[in-house]
Point group: C2
Chain length 215, copies 2
DNA sequence: AGGTTAATTATGCAAGCGTATAATTACGCG
DNA sequence: CGCGTAATTATACGCTTGCATAATTAACCT
């Protein structure tokens, strides 16, 4: 006869759903409150479970953070390339560039998230691995797209030539992404997108402006 | 008759020196261990004082962090522009660009420091102010230099034209700075510098390569 | 149905955190 | 030289943190 009706009701859920909910809660908290605010208790509360459950799915908080980081970076890359559509390589590149510096890819939360993780990247080897993989994953795809664009123009698309171009284009994109996210109200609507397209075009030695919508 | 010889010996120092020592300790710790590692106790230990003293000079830890952030950002800008020397505007710009993506301005510690602070920038209005002031401070000086370079070439140096160019150049610089610091071993020695000079030149529509040393 | 078990909650603990306050001591000044 | 005081140390408090462990319960299986 256990009359303890004040115990919290709950529903059992699959491991994947729970893990994802916990990851989502973690990301939301880090974005809004910073890593400092993403405590085990706060994460549990936001995911509408009790803190003990976290330990049931992630043997340590580090593991949870690693999972969250991985998902965030993958989502960021995927979100960006998903918008890189168009009839010609040039149009796809322009669309990619615009998407990179426009919400939801470029916004305060994304940047805050990324910065919040960077600290742990330096200290955790697994985080470092994810970081490197994510960076190269994005840049390699960018490099491939640049090669296509150059080929279309009949220019040499040797990897020796493309690599520095990809690094440079990636840097402009990252820089603008960063500044747009960290200092949004310093720029006008669409200003960053225009600058991004213009700059990437200049680096590649071609005019990219106006190619997003047409062609 | 107070026989308590185990009390720590100390030397009195001026407020400025102590404050600076505390700031330096804070920066070192955040760079090495992350914000999490920069506890009041750890800072005090590194500065070779006891934790109580921190409260004597900074009424709250937030104040200390703000002071540290201010100093770091100012030092970064100053360090960079200090190397922007040369006979012609073009040479000065090239030197500035190279300095921006080369140690000690661009290294893991600087980037880690910057990222570590970003979290607090979003939450503290005073930090935000320093952030904005620092960003614009750098960019405005960059814009002025770009205007000089364009004028030398006999091109229009209107602020309406220069602003987007400055934003773009600043973005490449920031992007490369970031990637060089966060992923140093992904690039070869001097690779980032070469790419930076090349890209800024492309954005400005001129050849900047090889202008650092000569002219 | 009813027993089994894994999912979930509840509770507790030791360590570390920032901050407050009282006790000491180095050092300048008359 | 000794006195005053500001600089510094010492100690403690309340809170939060990540983690561990025991108690409970929802849902599946036969």
């Amino acid at each position: 006869m256990t009359v303890q009706g004040d115990r919290r009701k709950f529903r059992r859920e699959g491991a994947d759903q729970r893990k994802e909910a916990l990851v989502r809660a973690t990301l939301g908290l880090i974005a809004e409150e910073g890593v400092r605010g993403a405590t085990v208790r706060a994460i549990a509360e936001r995911a509408e479970v009790t803190q003990g459950l976290i330990r049931h799915y992630f043997s340590t908080k580090e593991d949870l953070v690693l999972a969250a980081y991985t998902q965030h970076m993958d989502a960021l890359t995927e979100q960006t390339f998903a918008k890189a559509e168009g009839a010609t390589p040039r149009a796809r590149l322009a669309a990619l560039v615009v998407a990179s510096v426009t919400p939801p890819v470029a916004d305060a939360a994304s940047v805050a998230l990324w910065a919040g993780f960077l600290t742990q990247v330096r200290q955790d080897a697994r985080m470092q691995e994810v970081h490197a993989r994510s960076y190269h994953g994005f840049r390699d795809r960018l490099e491939a797209l640049i090669a296509e664009v150059l080929a279309q123009d009949g220019r040499a698309a040797d990897s020796r030539d493309c690599r520095p171009l990809a690094i440079a284009c990636n840097a402009v994109i990252d820089g603008l992404w960063l500044e747009g996210g960290a200092l949004a109200d310093a720029f006008e609507e669409g200003e960053l997108a225009a600058i991004a397209v213009q700059s990437v075009g200049a680096i590649l030695g071609m005019n990219l402006t106006g190619t997003e919508a047409q062609e």
